[in-house]
């Protein structure tokens, strides 16, 4: 793994240590260890049910691990007091999969909400800052619309504008490409790259879209059945010989039909055992 000396010594922006999460006795995350360095784009890859969304919820502090810890800027989310947690949450902007915009408010009110809640700025300053955030994501003219009037891609961009409103150090995206056509998905990738270049943010992206992952990632982490099977640069993952990584990259399906069960059933049927 290539590490520059400064990134190796600097405290990671996010540090996930031995995190275990189980639901109803099933281990969804099984001892995850992952560091996200400051200023890098980390892409969490994995198939459906691999635990990547659960890991994301741990990183943004919506859930706490049964054992292990998640440190953001060196502070444990699960053990932080209310004031620390509030400060930590303000330093993380999250763009949810479906946008999670409030339909009862206009787009600009959605973007202005964190500013109105957490700052004492004058309304004129808030509206200027809101306009700037919307301009960054290319929605400056759409502020007065209701979120319902926006297309899927525009909703996601508006959600990015809201996530940016408090100038977070860390930006987290949940499935930015899901449900978008390739052109709009590519636009969103460019937006993520542009934001990172402009604001030098730490970016965490959860996705299963390979093209998007390769376009934006500095490093990738691959989850399979609740465990991290690889963490590294694009080149390192591409050259990996791990069968699951190869299967994911080469789009090889799992065997769906259970032929043994079929044979067994057929045999019993012929013997009259199912009458």
């Amino acid at each position: 793994m290539s590490q520059t000396p400064e990134s190796a010594t600097a405290e990671p922006a996010i540090s996930v240590r031995n995190v275990v999460v189980s639901y109803n006795g099933r281990r969804v995350l099984d001892g995850i260890n992952l560091d996200v360095r400051r200023g890098e784009t980390m892409v969490l890859l994995g198939g459906s049910g691999s635990g990547k969304s659960t890991l994301l919820r741990q990183i943004i502090g919506l859930e706490h691990p049964q054992s292990g810890e998640v440190l953001v800027n060196g502070l444990d989310l699960a053990k932080s007091g209310a004031a620390d947690l509030k400060r930590l949450r303000r330093s993380i902007g999250v763009a949810f999969q479906g946008g999670a915009l409030f339909n009862s408010m206009s787009v600009e009110d959605n973007v202005a909400l964190p500013l109105r809640e957490h700052t004492q700025l004058a309304e004129s300053t808030i509206s200027l800052m809101t306009w700037m955030k919307l301009a960054v994501v290319g929605l400056a003219e759409f502020g007065r619309l209701s979120p319902q009037a926006l297309s899927g891609g525009m909703k996601k961009r508006a959600a990015v504008a809201r996530a940016l409103s408090l100038d977070p150090e860390i930006l987290v995206f949940d499935e930015p490409s899901a449900g978008l056509d390739p052109i709009v998905a590519a636009e969103l990738d460019e937006l993520i790259l542009g934001l990172k270049a402009a604001f030098n943010m730490t970016v965490v992206v959860v996705t299963h879209e390979m093209a998007s992952a390769f376009r934006i990632a500095d490093r990738m982490a691959m989850l399979y059945e609740g465990s991290l099977i690889a963490v590294g640069t694009k080149e390192e993952l591409l050259s990996s010989s791990h069968p699951r990584i190869r299967q994911f990259f080469d789009r090889v399906p799992d065997k769906i039909a259970d032929t043994a069960a079929f044979d067994q059933y057929f045999q019993r049927y012929m013997e009259g055992g199912l009458a």
Binding site: L62, K86, R89, G98, A100, L101, L113, P114, H118
Partner: protein, 268 residues
């Protein structure tokens, strides 16, 4: 067989205790948040949101509550009159309707109407927000959902339910007067004078105290059902049904408790 029965009873008991615990925790959080919803001292946008809720929960429900109460007042007067007439005690119909509404029917009818209208609306609104990850988004923006979503509804209900209860009682009593006017030729002026004689301040106060308790139950059950939605749109529908059923049941249960308490302490 016995073990499974014991297990089932135990499991159901635990579920109910857990539910009541959830309500208590939510109530505690919302009481702290109420201060930040008040005008002048609190957050301006919460107060604005509370005013919106007052229109939705109170003003929009007023015609329905008034008509329901008027019908119930008319029925109560008719039923009372058909019995009391036999004893030549028609004048007691006035007492029956007045005391019945100020102490009992006014708050109860209002609570049932609001529970059906707004309890389900609260749970459906919050449930949809859960499904669309809006509640998660609030938490990641360091905004407490109980303060942002629930507290304005709670404040609004605490203000409008007593108002609706007064409207309901007034309509019920007036409808009783209308019946008396047509069935006994007792003038409305005479009826209202008798009503003023029958009204006791403590009855009005107990009715209003009940309405505050009912407001708390309706808002908290409705919102808790919404916050507990997991899954998709079908879960939102189920939560709306559960909100109405549970809040109506708990309102009636609380009414029994309050009435028993007032009966035992005040001899009413």
């Amino acid at each position: 067989m016995t073990v499974s029965l014991v297990e089932r009873i135990g499991g159901a008991t635990l579920r109910h205790v857990e539910y009541v615990g959830g309500l208590a925790i939510q109530l505690q959080g919302s009481i702290r948040a109420l201060g930040r919803t008040l005008p002048v001292v609190g957050n301006r946008s919460r107060w604005r949101s509370a005013i919106g809720q007052m229109f939705a929960v109170g003003v929009a429900a007023a015609p329905m509550v008034a008509i329901m109460a008027a019908c119930a007042g008319f029925i109560l007067a008719m039923q009372g009159a058909s019995e009391l007439r036999r004893f030549g005690a028609m004048q007691f119909v006035v007492d029956l309707v007045t005391i019945g509404f100020t102490r009992e029917l006014g708050p109860l009818l209002t609570a049932i109407a609001v529970s059906g209208r707004s309890g389900s609306a609260f749970s459906a609104e919050i449930g949809s927000m859960v499904v669309a990850e809006e509640i998660d988004a609030l938490r990641t923006m360091a905004i407490e959902p109980v303060e942002f979503v629930l507290a304005p509804k709670f404040l609004a209900a605490l203000i409008v339910l007593p108002c609706l209860t007064i409207i309901s009682s007034a309509c019920g009593i007036l409808a009783g007067g209308l019946f008396m006017r047509f069935s006994t030729e007792m003038g409305l002026g005479v009826y209202l004078r008798d009503v003023v004689h029958s009204i006791v301040l403590s009855d009005v106060i107990t009715g209003l105290v009940k309405s505050l308790a009912f407001a708390t139950i309706i808002v908290h059950v409705g919102c808790l059902e919404g916050f507990r939605v997991r899954g998709g749109p079908d879960a939102v529908g189920r939560s709306a049904t559960a909100a109405v059923v549970k809040s109506t049941f708990l309102v009636i249960l609380a009414d029994v408790g309050f009435t028993a308490l007032f009966y035992l302490t005040g001899g009413k």
